[in-house]
């Protein structure tokens, strides 16, 4: 990103007895650059306290710790003494957003420059005070040291003078070899508050006079209210009011429902359950997973609506092939089910709104609150609490729109609280889909790869004008470019079942089908599955075009490196431990590379994932603990969806509603995990999603090694094997 640095960093609050640098992080609209409005701050006070604001929402991905670490590294301060605060949403500027594993990669340069600029100013101030040249001074642990006589000035002693200086244009940045904080293992900055339960999540937000709202929505997707009998609900002590409201024009903004407003969460929940509502199902009561599977099968049996990639001629290659493998893979809808069910607090006054709650997109919350209230966005503030999990669900702010809508209608602050059933049955699910393969083999190698995919499309669901294949399949993903004849086609399916972004969108399905199919090819060719992948990648470093998020290219050498590393970690060339069977998978996504080996055991026809090895190259690692935590968590999530994850639709509604039917992995099912991070000086890349996509294929490839049964439809629990 090109930034005019004079506009990018400035001294704020000069003469306040502190050095306060405001700076603008990516997302800042360039046309507004003349009007400098910082959206992040670094403050050093005379008493030597360093405060850094963390800009992005903390949803468990660790940015509240890792982003400030980048500033602290350049600033040369003792990390243990830095105070990290959550920045509120800035009312005019910028992208404060958690999604796409982007926080580190997009803020890396700016945060380094901000830290370096502050350090440079403190050095300049020391140079004047001590009357020694800059090059005689060094910064260390919050002090500027005169290297000739070891005289020291604390940052606090220098802030007044530093604040009177202009910001430097190109402060020198540290070299990677000199890092003493970046790459170290640091615990999360909120940990003490988290283990004592003393930090607020959205669900804990409270204001004076606040009421609670629970909302009943059409059990069948897309249904509308015909009639309401609220007599029983209104008899419940504490229930104040029942309010019907319409949805917005786009169902990803807000769907309508019937709200029960009460003076406690429990009364609101009880009231919701006591409502008797007749619904017009809009014809959607016939929708089912079976229907959708039939449509997927129908679509993948004919020419796709969208032709995404053609190399060579697959038809000729199939005519010429020694053998053709034909397979059909299928993945179900998945719910996000973050541990904190959706909730949001809105206080709509006559001409202003105060919002507060758990979201990955505070900007969208304001946008929607403005839409439902006709109050200008400039008059809407959004506080950000810690967020009890996102996984993509909180990229939509429908529940914030509900809170604003209800608060405006009743003229009081309202906290909308969803219960778990609301969360699971009114999610925006990972799209379900089918992937049909024909793969031609000729003279011991793969001569043709034809994938014909059909999925429900989240782009189609939200009425986006972007191509409906968007992020459901990836025309440049491996093995594209490594098979002489290649064809990829796609057909979207329209459905009332809501869909949205789910951790590693698209990749969570494509890595399963591609990396399973590669395994099938390796077995058909009688080759070792891991060595076959190395063979396909070939020697040297090919820079492959990759026209998607994480591109514009990827490196075959880096992919080979993680494969070789995981082979070494798992002793791939030796037999696995007794009773265990192995599978491998690899993936490139969002700029990072990962290879995984999974060991499973099978007892009484029940597969169990015993151990997962992962080798990951994400470039420079900021916080080692945070990075490992993300990778470990993505692996657990991956095992969970592989073994049990499925939302199935019957009569226009989901058959699952809580953790008894929508099962998440538990302690007794959790595998051992061993992770290695590849040492790298490459640009840091996001890690929040990358470890998940290879898991399903690696697990199912291991199950094949154990049982000879190929799992082509997830989850494993539906395969008759468990």
């Amino acid at each position: 990103m090109k930034t005019n640095r004079r506009n990018f960093i400035k001294v704020s609050g000069a003469g306040s007895g502190a050095l306060v640098l405001g700076f603008t992080l990516p997302g800042f609209k360039q046309k507004e650059a003349e009007l400098f409005e910082p959206n992040a701050f670094l403050k050093i006070t005379a008493d030597n306290v360093v405060t850094i604001q963390a800009k992005n929402p903390e949803i468990g991905q660790g940015v509240k710790t890792s982003l400030p670490m980048i500033i602290a590294e350049e600033l040369e301060v003792d990390w243990k003494k830095v105070i990290v605060e959550q920045a509120p949403y800035n009312s005019r500027l910028g992208s404060q957003f958690a999604g796409g594993s982007t926080a580190i990669k997009t803020n890396w340069e700016s945060l380094r420059q901000a830290g370096a600029a502050a350090k440079q100013m403190l050095k300049m101030a020391a140079s004047r005070k001590l009357n020694v040249p800059m090059n005689q001074l060094m910064a260390k642990s919050g002090e500027i040291i005169n290297q000739q006589n070891q005289q020291k000035l604390t940052y606090g002693e220098l802030v007044d003078m530093a604040a009177s200086l202009g910001t430097p244009e190109d402060p020198p940045l540290k070299e990677a070899k000199d890092y003493n904080l970046i790459g170290t293992w640091q615990g999360g900055v909120d940990n003490e508050k988290l283990v004592t339960g003393s930090i607020d999540f959205g669900v804990d937000a409270k204001v004076e006079g606040m009421l609670y709202a629970a909302i009943l929505k059409s059990p069948v997707f897309g249904g509308k209210v015909l009639s309401i009998d609220d007599s029983e609900a209104l008899k419940i002590p504490g229930v104040k009011q029942v309010l019907q409201f319409e949805g917005l024009e786009n169902p990803v903004w807000m769907i309508g429902g019937v709200a029960v407003i009460a003076d406690s969460t429990w009364a609101a929940f009880k009231g919701k359950n006591a409502l008797k509502v007749e619904w017009d199902n809009q014809g959607n009561e016939t929708e089912s997973s079976e229907n959708l599977t039939n449509q997927f099968r129908d679509n993948t049996s004919k020419t796709g609506e969208i032709q995404l990639r053609t190399n060579g001629n697959v038809a000729d290659a199939f005519n010429d092939a020694d053998e053709i493998l034909e397979t059909e893979y299928e993945v179900p809808f998945l719910s996000h089910a973050p541990m904190e069910p959706q909730n949001y607090l809105a206080d709509v006054k006559e001409d202003a709104i105060a919002l507060n709650g758990s979201t990955q997109v505070p900007g969208s919350a304001r946008f929607l609150a403005s839409m439902v209230s006709d109050i200008a966005r400039d008059n809407i503030t959004a506080e950000m609490t810690r967020v009890g999990g996102g996984f993509g669900r909180r990229l939509l702010a429908d529940y914030a729109a509900e809170a604003a809508k209800i608060s405006k209608e009743i003229g009081a602050p309202v906290k909308v609280v969803w219960d778990r059933e609301d969360d699971v049955t009114h999610d925006y699910y990972r799209p379900a889909g089918m992937y049909k393969f024909r793969v031609g083999l000729k003279n011991g190698s793969m001569s043709a790869w034809h994938i014909n995919a059909s999925t429900t499309s989240r782009y189609m669901y939200r009425g986006s004008s972007d191509s409906h294949h968007g992020t459901e399949v990836f025309p440049d993903g491996f093995p594209a470019g490594f098979v002489p004849n290649f064809k990829m086609e796609y057909t979207p399916v329209k459905t009332a079942v809501p869909t949205g972004a789910w951790r590693a969108p698209g990749h969570n399905a494509t890595a399963f089908v591609d990396q399973s199919m590669i395994d099938e090819v390796a077995h058909a060719l009688n080759k070792d599955p891991l060595k076959y992948r190395l063979e396909l990648l070939g020697d040297g470093d090919k820079i492959m075009p990759y026209d998607d998020h994480g591109g514009p290219t990827y490196s075959t050498a880096r992919l080979r490196k993680v494969l070789n590393k995981v082979a070494e970690m798992s002793n791939w060339d030796s037999n696995p431990p007794n009773g265990r069977y192995r599978g491998v998978a690899m993936h490139f996504m969002f700029g990072a590379y990962v290879a995984e080996v999974v060991e499973v055991s099978v007892q009484n026809n029940q597969p169990k994932v015993e151990k997962v090895y992962a080798a990951v190259d994400c470039g420079i690692v900021i916080n080692r603990s945070g990075a490992l935590n993300q990778i470990e968590g993505g692996i657990i999530d991956g095992v969970s969806i592989t073994m049990n994850g499925a939302i199935t639709i019957k009569n226009g509604k989901p058959e699952q509603s809580n953790f008894d039917t929508y099962k998440l992995l538990r302690m007794n099912e959790a595998p051992e995990i061993e992770v290695e991070l590849i040492e790298s000086a490459e640009h840091p890349e996001g890690l929040g999603e990358i470890s998940l996509p290879p898991v399903p294929a690696a697990v199912c490839n291991a199950i094949f090694a154990a049982t000879g049964k190929r799992i082509r439809k997830l989850p494993v629990s539906g395969s008759g094997l468990s």
Partner: protein
């Protein structure tokens, strides 16, 4: 509505609530003890775990009218002097990701260690499998429990 005399974290309090109100919502809405979290409402995920006379229970599915004279301990009262061994181990192992389930995990782990100071992996599985962590911190939770046990 009815009035209930409860002993919460060694203090006697009186609350007014519907008799079927789960203890969870009495703690959170009536008493502002918001460390205990809502996850599923059906005793399936463990986010709401508190101690009743020292035993871990799911406060989301325990009505306030069933508490009686038994002592309720929440995360706010789990350690009178600073952090307990489990909380310290949680910080040392950097267990939390989003952190939402961790209070429930800590309540279950603390009860486990009081019962079994040196738990086996099987003990950990049986005591902790009622607590879901959607972020997948199980590997670290297991390590932290063992660290807390080792003192």
């Amino acid at each position: 509505m009815a009035k209930y005399q409860l002993n919460i974290n060694n203090e006697n309090v009186e609350v007014e609530a519907l008799e079927d109100t789960p203890l969870l919502w009495v703690l959170r809405d009536n008493l502002d003890l918001t460390g205990t979290k809502f996850g599923c409402g059906k005793g399936l995920c463990g986010a709401c775990t508190v101690h009743l006379d020292g035993n871990p229970i799911r406060s989301c599915s325990t009505p306030v009218s069933a508490i009686g004279k038994r002592k309720v301990t929440t995360i706010e009262g789990i350690s009178a002097n600073g952090l307990n061994a489990v909380q310290k181990a949680w910080i040392e192992e950097d267990v939390p990701q989003c952190g939402y389930c961790q209070v429930g995990q800590i309540m279950s782990a603390t009860a486990l260690l009081e019962r079994k100071p040196n738990p086996t992996d099987a003990d950990i599985n049986s005591a902790m499998s009622g607590n879901i962590c959607r972020c997948g911190t199980y590997v670290r939770i297991r390590k932290a429990i063992k660290k807390a046990a080792a003192g």
